[in-house]
Symmetry: C2
Subunit: 465 residues, 2 copies
Amino acid sequence: MNRPASRIPERENLIERLRCLLGDRTTTSESILQQHGRGESWHPVRPPDAVCFPRDSEEVAAIVKLCAETSTPVIAFGTGTSLEGQVQALQGDICIDLSRMNTILEVNNEDMDCRVQAGVTRRELNQYLRDSGLFFPIDPGANTSIGGMTATRASGTNAVRYGTMRENVLGLTVVTASGDIIKTGTRARKSAAGYDLTRLFVGSEGTLGVITEICLRLHGRSEAISAAIVNFPDVRSAAEATIQTIQTGIPMARIEILDAAYVKAINAYSETDYPELDTLFLEFHGTRAGVAEQVQMFEEISRDFGASGFQWAEQEEDRNRLWRARHDAYYAGLAVNPGYCGYVTDVCVPISRLADCIAETQADIAASGLFAPIIGHVGDGNFHSTIFIDPDDEAMFAKALELDQRMVRRALEMGGTCTGEHGIGIGKLKHMRSEHGDGAVALMQALKAALDPQNIMNPGKIVDC
Amino acid sequence: MNRPASRIPERENLIERLRCLLGDRTTTSESILQQHGRGESWHPVRPPDAVCFPRDSEEVAAIVKLCAETSTPVIAFGTGTSLEGQVQALQGDICIDLSRMNTILEVNNEDMDCRVQAGVTRRELNQYLRDSGLFFPIDPGANTSIGGMTATRASGTNAVRYGTMRENVLGLTVVTASGDIIKTGTRARKSAAGYDLTRLFVGSEGTLGVITEICLRLHGRSEAISAAIVNFPDVRSAAEATIQTIQTGIPMARIEILDAAYVKAINAYSETDYPELDTLFLEFHGTRAGVAEQVQMFEEISRDFGASGFQWAEQEEDRNRLWRARHDAYYAGLAVNPGYCGYVTDVCVPISRLADCIAETQADIAASGLFAPIIGHVGDGNFHSTIFIDPDDEAMFAKALELDQRMVRRALEMGGTCTGEHGIGIGKLKHMRSEHGDGAVALMQALKAALDPQNIMNPGKIVDC
């Protein structure tokens, strides 16, 4: 409730105008403001002054126009599952909650694409596609909105085969900082027609405009799908097996690492009985013959690295149970540490450096004394250590910050990035210059100033203007 | 030789300073200027005032700094194979020929990536990679430079499986309009760290900066490769077979259409004896079992559409002969029309509309009376009609312009793009508003103004400032 400064008469007047526009779809209810001032990680709540619930791009444009008139910051909000403080209202801003924009506007089966409003969640979309033979593969774990996934350049478990949001967004409808509605991209699979505005907005975290509609690539469901877990003697062996699998060109659909500590937490939370060892969770997609061939190749590689205890799941129900357990890891970690919150790290390195990076990180964690199990999309070279911290223990938080800082430095030294998929928000602003250099950051600032001269689109995130 | 206006004393002085910087690697030799004022399509020659041949990013930066001081336009030049007037010097500009920046800087076999100077050609790179088990798949036909391919967002025959330059560039070194050297991207396979500067420069045609180094994804050579040609009763049947092949999810490496007119020209030019029918040129990549399965699935589909005359090529030499013939199509068309030049069209539509688009275009061509055979990367929904025109026949040129205009309108109405892979240059500037709308074009203009406030980076291309 730390926002007296913003409660100026002009802001009250704006909120009145937003009420005239949207009726009770503009709210200042304290509980709703609190709920909209946070994601799922450790960043403190920073509630907005009001939350609007538009139904279409035109209403979003009208809201942004009103905000632009008074230079009031605007924050787009999807499902509130971001991890780097992307939705925190730093200046008591107006939050645009897109959850009521949840219409699937069109599905073109023949072209394997669709157009959705930004508030549609990935599970809603896949539920809708259930009988079409198509699916939307990007799976960051939480049941995130497509708009939020686009704005954060999300990826998750299937990216090793199907790419990230960068590769799967064909086009966008965006409300610009001046409240204009523009469209980017076409339904063609490729184009060389001018600047790639679509890719500029993908990953821009609401700082260049509000994404209101997304045209997505869909993918055909495979004839055969096989999931598995397999145990390794240590995390390095699991990472080495992953590296060789990727280098061999096996078209893995998913290849995920969970260390023993995470498997143990999952068993306690999800009432599963997976062997409490460093483990790879896998999925193979293809024709029947293709999957059989992939499985054989993978088994041969993994045995060279000491793998054991293959457990297979072929029925959809069994596969879903396996992946639900994997996705519950974060919540399992919270459950076994009551009262703690998660500080989620997120580095990504070239695959050849993955085993070194994970092994060094593991040693670093052990030395820190923190509980920070490792999980990751290792096929992409991307992994997380989730540091579970007591939010009231400042010394513990300082240790977590330092551990994260060292992880980022290690990843950058190995030619990697400070964030594979969670984005910059406010949490990783401090790493932008060490990753990109002053020149590239200056260029990003120039882009931001050109597209948002009043600095009202989610200010204070990605670039510090 | 139409540039007296630009031969002002200030320009002469700049050229002297460039000579001080580079010695005889700055030239004003008339034949070299002429050669640098054109691509490979119909656009009239517009020579620059001088051509510089830098050896590294630092020299490019020094050239750009000198040009920036006098607000002199700068044009980056690769192999001169662009098709939409991208290198034409509209204001008697300084051309930066990157062909001496032809060093392959590093190849990381384990990570399947490499870093090259912008002047390295795709054949040089693949020659270098010959024994590594890796290859660079993007293949637009001509032996283009990697820098030029990046700047044009090129694609070509393998894009249906391996993506375009958009998907295969990991990072860049760029000299900005102020002469600063920046780096974009990392060697990690994905990142969510800020604005996607890499994708902003890919396809920017030298209008936002000069690309000097490129970090590329490479791909593993498949265990088995099989190429084939197969004939169809008409172009629509070939397109319908393509649509179903893509929708079935067969991971085609190449699927290219050539109409009977083009096959006939190739036979005459390349001394081949392919049946002079509408034909698909195909390539399958995978494991031995995988390729056999793909071939079987494709044959079943194609027979439903009346396919006949399958001819297979499995040895590398035979495959190379087949693809050389395919790539010679443009030159074959020129050879059978002595004195003519090529006006290459380039539309791309959602795959479901491909058969309609090609069939309607074919009828349109027939009605026009022009010789305009069709060729295309049909797996992406992308095809070209090359209109062979007598450069001295104004009426014929006007007809070609009108035919192209109708092709673009048809593609846009079908949800496609005015250019799948050749870019905008000056030739397609006129279509930018109909494809993107005024709002998106204004946004592109804002980006251009932010990154190149003096408008010296290849001015007059992509956006009209």
